[in-house]
């Protein structure tokens, strides 16, 4: 497997500028001859599709939702980072770069992260020009707030719905290109395979989710912008439709999967309330700006929170991390919550919860002040739990939220398969082993607006796929279509007795127990035995009513869960192979006396990139060594 990251030479601050000059260009008149197959229409896919269309490329864009406006980017609450330094508090491109590399626990690629920090400021300019209604001060200037893992205020926000406002801006740009006829949008259409011809990605096979029609699409490049795989845990903060199918099928066609075990468990979510639960709801990290996290000092303290005096409360984040306090990064805040609950000091039903308390903020700025900042989040909490967070502290617990792992890409955001580009959460490159808050929106839009539109032209000019025109009559398309059809037939023919969800829930429990917030060799080995057994049971016991040639919700889910049942095994395998703790990957064997992660830079300062060798073969791991030339490798400390 060729893992040349193609990092440009020269000082880090000049790499992207130099590379933009060195890359080949496509003549404006020739751009319309190149067809881009864009899969996914969230912040990364939507911004890339519209920008590529503006440049003159011919774009087909696909999403499984009924409209691009519904992609899961929409659910991001808190904000988007940018090194604008509007607050004059010492921010800079280099500081955002430094915070992101350190926040990722030194497992990301420096050059990509630096570029991300560089283009961050352009994103805010672009979004404002599109009409994104960011929060403003009375003087009309943009407002900022601070977020976990940073000591400057660089987060731009739109109340508690930053993702929705950014996506609506991006979708408006996409609509403009659809109206101009330069993007053809295919909603309710799901990718089921990638077609590789002579070693390059030349097309995809999709299923129309309304009619069931299987169709091939040929193009000059395939771009996957299909998000992350947190729903492998079943219960997560992701939308119900989020899945690994596109990236997993690409992996099975040759694309390397990097660091699949790097998953982020978000510290502030509403705890699980019962077996019926279908998803977990995030409470924005921004709440930690004003809320204080605590549990009773004594285990099994059943008093109401208001009856517990301050002296008997343990504000454990403030105690353990005095300089960052409640704004400790997500991985650390999550692990600390698990720790206090493991000690029997958890609160609420089931004792898997900690308090996020606004009592002091209400005293300081009044109920009105708190409501202005977080009103919609407080309302949402009240709707779900039937408790009033102005009067009683919120109960929160960590939940799977984001996946830093993804398909391996080089500096040009191209996978090891020529012509297959991967952007946004679906790739692996920028967040290392832990993502900082408000950086996902930044990365999605950076990739889509300001990186891929340059690098894709370089690919076209270098590989000239237009010189080998291909249609869907090519035998590789016929082969892929036949395989897709056969798989659907096989799923429908199982005719077992159990629902798809029942398997998904069981897989989720295995993953959460074995490969969740804390991992160890014993638990991972057990999961690696349980997953293949569950997979076998699925293929002989699942029941899918109806046919393939209609709107069939169970068939849709079955295809995705079947992929998770394969992917989950790779995740555990990767977690077992990475015998160190770093960021969100906490191997219990490797911790300090006070429970902090212990990295092993000697042996594991690399990205683990897995190669699929066939369904009956063990995958092979390759390494991309990570060099830290600009941020010295150091033990991450937020104390």
């Amino acid at each position: 497997m060729n893992l040349d990251a193609k990092i440009p030479s020269g000082p880090i601050a000049d790499k992207w500028d130099n590379h933009r000059f060195d890359m080949k260009l496509v003549n404006p008149a020739n751009k319309r001859k190149f067809k881009v197959l864009m899969v996914g229409s969230g912040l990364a896919g939507g911004s890339a599709a519209s920008t590529l269309a503006e440049l003159g490329y011919d774009v087909e864009c696909f999403c499984f939702q009924d409209s691009p406006r519904r992609a899961h980017s929409i659910a991001a609450q808190g904000g988007i980072n940018a090194a604008k330094n509007y607050q004059n508090d010492g921010d800079s491109v280099h500081r955002l770069f430094y915070d992101t590399v350190k926040g990722g626990d030194f497992r990301s690629r420096e050059a990509n992260v630096y570029r991300l920090a560089q283009v961050s400021a352009n994103i805010i300019d672009q979004c404002v020009a599109q009409g994104v209604p960011f929060a403003r001060e009375y003087g009309g200037q943009l407002a900022n707030r601070s977020f976990g893992g940073a000591q400057v205020s660089r987060t731009f926000y739109a109340r508690g719905q930053t993702g929705q406002q950014l996506l609506l801006g991006c979708y408006a740009g996409l609509n403009r290109q659809i109206a101009a006829g330069k993007v053809r949008m295919h909603p309710r259409t799901e990718l089921l395979d990638i077609v590789i011809v002579d070693g390059t990605a030349r097309g995809i096979v999709t299923r129309d989710l309304v009619t069931g029609k299987i169709q091939s699409w040929a193009g000059d490049t395939v771009v996957l912008a299909t998000g992350g795989y947190s729903t492998v845990f079943y219960l997560s903060t992701n939308a119900m439709g989020c899945n690994v199918t596109a990236t997993w099928r690409a992996h099975k066609r040759g694309a390397g999967f990097a660091n699949p075990c790097f998953t982020q468990i978000h510290p502030t979510c509403i705890p699980v309330s019962g077996d019926h639960q279908s998803k977990l709801t995030l409470m924005s990290e921004s709440l930690r700006n004003d809320g204080r996290v605590w549990v009773p000092k004594r285990a099994d303290d059943d008093r109401q929170p208001g009856e517990i005096p301050d002296a008997e409360r343990d504000y454990y984040l403030e105690r353990k991390y005095p300089s960052f306090g409640n704004l400790a990064p997500r991985d650390i805040a999550s692990r600390s919550a698990k720790e206090v609950c493991d000690e029997g000091r958890g609160v609420g039903p089931g004792k898997r919860g900690v308090y996020l308390d606004f009592r002091d903020s209400v005293e300081r700025v009044g109920k009105q002040g708190v409501s202005e900042r977080y009103g919609n989040l407080f309302d949402m909490y009240e709707r779900i739990t039937d408790e009033n967070p102005y009067e009683r502290p919120m109960r929160i617990y960590p939940a799977p939220h984001y996946t830093m792992g993804g398909l391996w890409v080089d500096y040009n955001l191209m996978s090891n398969v020529p012509g297959l580009h991967v952007i946004g959460e679906a790739n692996f490159s920028d967040h290392g082993a832990n993502r900082l808050g408000a950086s996902a929106l930044m990365q999605g839009l950076a990739d889509g607006y300001f990186v891929l539109p340059y690098t894709i032209g370089h690919y076209f000019a270098t590989y000239s796929p237009d010189k080998q025109p291909i249609t869907t009559d090519h035998p590789e398309f016929k082969r892929a279509e036949a395989e897709v059809n056969a798989r659907i037939e096989r799923l429908l023919n199982v005719q077992g007795s159990k629902t798809v969800d029942s398997f998904h829930k069981r897989l989720g429990r295995i993953m959460w127990e074995g490969c969740g917030m804390g991992r160890n060799a014993q638990g991972l080995t057990a999961a690696l035995e349980q997953i293949p057994a569950l997979r076998e049971e699925f293929w002989s016991g699942v029941r899918i009513p109806g046919s393939g040639s209609e709107f069939n919700i169970e068939l849709e889910k079955a295809g995705r869960v079947a992929d998770f049942l394969e992917f989950g095994e790779l995740m555990c395998r990767d977690a077992l192979a990475r015998d160190e703790s770093c960021g969100g990957h906490f191997r219990e064997e490797h911790q300090t006396a006070d429970g902090e992660a212990v990295r092993n830079d000697e042996e594991y300062c690399h990205a683990s990139v897995w190669e699929h060798k066939g369904d009956d073969q063990e995958p092979v791991m390759h390494r991309e060594a990570l060099d830290f030339e600009n941020v010295a490798l150091a033990t991450r400390s937020y104390k």
């Binding site: 911004s47 503006e54 939702q65 409209s67 406006r69 519904r70 899961h72 659910a75 604008k84 352009n122 672009q126 404002v128 020009a129 599109q130 009409g131 209604p133 960011f134 403003r136 009375y138 009309g140 200037q141 943009l142 739109a158 929705q164 609506l168 408006a172 740009g173 403009r176 659809i178 109206a179 949008m185 909603p187 309304v210 903060t237 939308a239 119900m240 309330s273 019962g274 019926h276 639960q277 279908s278 998803k279 709801t281 949402m380 709707r383 779900i384 300001f450 539109p453 007795s497 159990k498 629902t499 969800d501 029942s502 029941r543 009513p545 109806g546 209609e550 709107f551 919700i553 169970e554």
Partner: protein, 250 residues
């Protein structure tokens, strides 16, 4: 809790639909409405029947995918709440709950409770954007926008495009949706430039999709999960009239 559910079943757009009655037992007050339907579907599949198709995705009230008319009210009985955020504690043991799709000419049936809301996308394609390409935007703080005006734009931009306004309107008018989109952009200086063209194009697109006209019932405002005010409709009508009179549009 035990509930009797009357659910609209329809195989596809060309077949006739009908109500089917199901008994839901073991309903917990902490379940969301959609989780209650998940349990119904589990039971149906285990009995070898076809599950009820309904639209949903984020289940946290922001993506706008979920729909449903519950006991005659779009998104059900709780104010400012999408169906996915509605919990069963809003119902009582023994209740009969009638569940229907969002019905409107502009929203053709797909299956069971799922309808096709792509008309909204097409209305936005007709002009719901600011014509600016990627790159070359001036510094974001170069254009100060007063907080009051920015807040009004935001109030309009909060629309999640669910279509409850259409489902609730006796005329199946989409004017709350369209006016919110127009107001979001017209209250910002960068969006005001194209306002007249935009309002004319979007109103024409809305009419072309078969949506009715506002007759001031205000049912839309009552069911809107994001509490978008009907005052935006008056703004839109004024804007349309002015644009039409000055013939500034195409």
């Amino acid at each position: 809790m035990k509930l009797t559910l009357r659910v609209w079943r329809q195989r596809n757009a060309s077949e006739q639909g009908r109500f089917e009655t199901y008994e839901a037992t073991d309903v917990s007050p902490d379940m969301s409405f959609l989780e209650m339907l998940d349990v119904l579907n589990r039971d149906l599949v285990e009995r070898s029947e076809e599950p009820v198709a309904f639209d949903h995705d984020c289940r946290e009230g922001i993506c706008g995918t979920c729909s449903l008319v519950i006991n005659g009210v779009a998104h059900g009985p709780r104010k400012a709440t999408t169906t996915c955020q509605l919990h069963m504690r809003s119902f009582k043991d023994g209740d009969t709950v009638t569940i229907e799709p969002f019905r409107a000419t502009g929203f053709p049936a797909v299956r069971d409770l799922v309808v096709d809301r792509s008309a909204f996308d097409r209305i936005l394609q007709s002009g719901g954007f600011i014509s600016v390409n990627t790159g070359g935007a001036p510094d974001a703080n170069a254009l100060p926008i007063g907080k009051a005006e920015a807040d009004t734009a935001f109030d309009a931009a909060a629309c999640i495009g669910c279509g409850a306004c259409v489902a609730a309107c006796p005329n199946a008018a989409a004017m709350l949706f369209v006016s919110a989109k127009i107001a979001h952009l017209s209250h910002l200086p960068q969006g005001a430039v194209e306002h007249e063209q935009r309002v004319v194009r979007m109103v024409h697109a809305m009419d072309g999709e078969g949506f009715g006209t506002c007759r001031n019932y205000y049912e839309c405002e009552a069911v809107c999960p994001k509490e978008i005010p009907v005052s935006f409709i008056a703004d839109m009508n004024r804007g349309y009239l002015k644009a039409a009179l000055t013939a500034a549009s195409d």
